[in-house]
Symmetry: C2
């Protein structure tokens, strides 16, 4: 198979890049390892800040793919830059793809919460993750028919934590926790809801409104302090130990459910690809842009581009904006190699 552009990854970044490059009458090949396009937001119910359905976004992006050749359920077994303008990739199916440029839209993965052993994910039934909660919201299950009395959200699980070797902030968890806390409160108006945080990073437009509303309208309580341990009592309730750093005292609280805000880490599964392409990665495992301000969608290898969360955590509007930027950059590159 031949194309002008091979895009690796069929999440929002890959889809939007593909559709916008297709608009230039380019041959675009989009490879997604799962059997469905959409990436992480497939598992998500509603999106911050306005609560729009994630499926509406996925459907809109899918509908714009134009003549993009989409290959699902397949991954790249290998990729090689043959000369300045030619790449050859082999799919897991054995099929060969020849192309003039490559876009890595390989995204991120969620921190596997069981690695933070002291939080008991996988051991205790009522300790779940942000992603688990979204799946429950999607199925209209919430936290079950029996209304919970007390629910806690633990921020920064797998983020800002040198013990698990990730110093970085995941950028999306604070606002997601506030969104999910409000959604739970709407489902269970009598529940008490607590958020355990280190810094509340409500930096985006309208985020602060949501945070203030969470407190004033929904009575959600924000407790500044890192959770040290989660355990389970004999009745199946969950016990959270933390240091309340504002009250300067240790805190022990019994809850019906705990939601762990699993952070965003780099998709190390693709390291063989970045190695084969001689791309530079940061200490955090995300791909380095050619420069951090202007050439954000270019890499150290001409003809290889990067877009979306493959360079670090980003919000969805940032990802989509960057995908359009990448489409423009790739199109200019293809014009240049044709004329040069």
């Amino acid at each position: 198979m031949e194309g002008d552009v091979l895009i690796i990854g069929g999440g929002p970044a890959g889809m939007e890049t593909a559709s916008r490059i297709s608009d230039f009458k380019r041959n675009v090949i989009l490879v997604e390892k799962e059997r469905e396009l959409g990436g992480h937001i497939l598992k998500w119910d509603r999106l911050f800040p306005d609560g729009i359905l994630a499926s509406d976004i996925t459907n809109e992006l899918k509908a714009s793919l134009g003549n993009t050749k989409v290959i699902l359920g397949s991954y790249l077994a290998s990729i090689e830059k043959r000369d300045d303008y030619h790449f050859v990739a082999q799919l897991s199916s054995g099929e060969i793809i020849r192309c003039s440029s490559v876009v890595l839209a390989t995204g991120f993965k969620l921190f596997p919460a069981q690695k933070k052993q002291e939080y008991g994910y996988g051991l205790y039934d009522r300790v779940i993750t942000n992603e688990d909660l979204e799946t429950r919201f999607k199925k209209s299950e919430g936290l079950g028919k029996e209304a919970p009395k007390r629910v806690g959200f633990v921020h920064c699980v797998g983020s800002r934590d040198e013990k698990i070797c990730n110093k970085q902030c995941s950028k999306l968890c604070c606002i997601t926790a506030v969104k999910q806390a409000i959604e739970l409160k709407q489902l269970y108006p009598d529940a008490e809801i607590f958020c355990f945080y280190m810094d509340l990073r409500m930096y985006g437009r309208g985020y602060e409104d949501l945070y203030l509303e969470a407190q004033s309208k929904y009575g959600i309580r924000f407790i500044r302090g890192r959770v040290s341990e989660i355990s389970q009592d004999q009745s199946g309730l969950v016990i959270v130990k933390a240091e309340d750093t504002l009250a300067s005292r240790p805190l022990k609280i019994t809850l019906d459910w705990v939601i762990l805000m699993a952070g965003i880490i780099s998709e190390r599964e693709n390291d063989y690809l970045t190695q084969q392409l001689s791309l530079q990665l940061g200490e955090d495992g995300f791909i380095n842009s050619l420069d951090p301000i202007i050439k954000t969608d270019q890499t150290n290898i001409p003809g290889v581009f990067v877009t979306g969360s493959a360079t670090g955590p980003k919000t969805l509007p940032e990802v989509l904006s960057e995908a359009r930027s990448t489409a423009l950059t790739v199109n200019e590159y293809l014009n240049k190699i044709k004329n040069g």
Copy 2:
């Protein structure tokens, strides 16, 4: 004068949008009210996170403007949408511009720190703003020849503050304060430096590294608490009163200098333009995008686009990415009206 696109605002957003639309052989007119292109970063010395010179960015953006017709020292006296595909604008010079589309790259303004009266900006010589400090860095003045012993940074001046009617986070001040604190410490290694913050919002890639380095390598002290009052003693030193919310005690500290991190607010000066174009603004005074996730550079009026910080605070790489996205969106619009 006639053009395909009229871009209002010659900061990074306007320049990058102009250069990328010019690449499509469109006639672009870029109007900037100041006598020089560059916007706020003209006053800035070095940029986070890597300390690149702001002037390098401005020069690179200027060099890419191609055939853009640049009009400096002029602003729009009025603008009107005549019919679906035609806008007529009048410049302050009296000149008339006819165009098919308009991009608002009107940016933001810094909160005027004197409005936060209890901080004494304008009254006390040694109370200056983030912008003042950058100007001093640009002139290699620092804080003067006499090395300061103690310097304090006050975060969130004009942000997250209902008293001055801005509930929103300004998104750029935390990381800027950490950058500036490190730069001061490099100039004056013996100075004690304090940052007074509410939440440290180090959400971007590498920001957390800078924050950790500020503490471990440079010994900068971060004190969680809102500053209630700043005054001056008889010797000209500055007295800061705050509540240390982690130690749960009031705090009074005498400093040589205080840097106020003035926040980002909407450029209300352009309200007559947004009114004439019937654009929707948010409660925060920034322009509303057509939707907050996908159509971020479109507005409620076909043919009128918005890019960069005109929709709210953004980092420079976000602004430039969005500018390229806007160039693509505007070009598609121009193709559509030509064919439709």
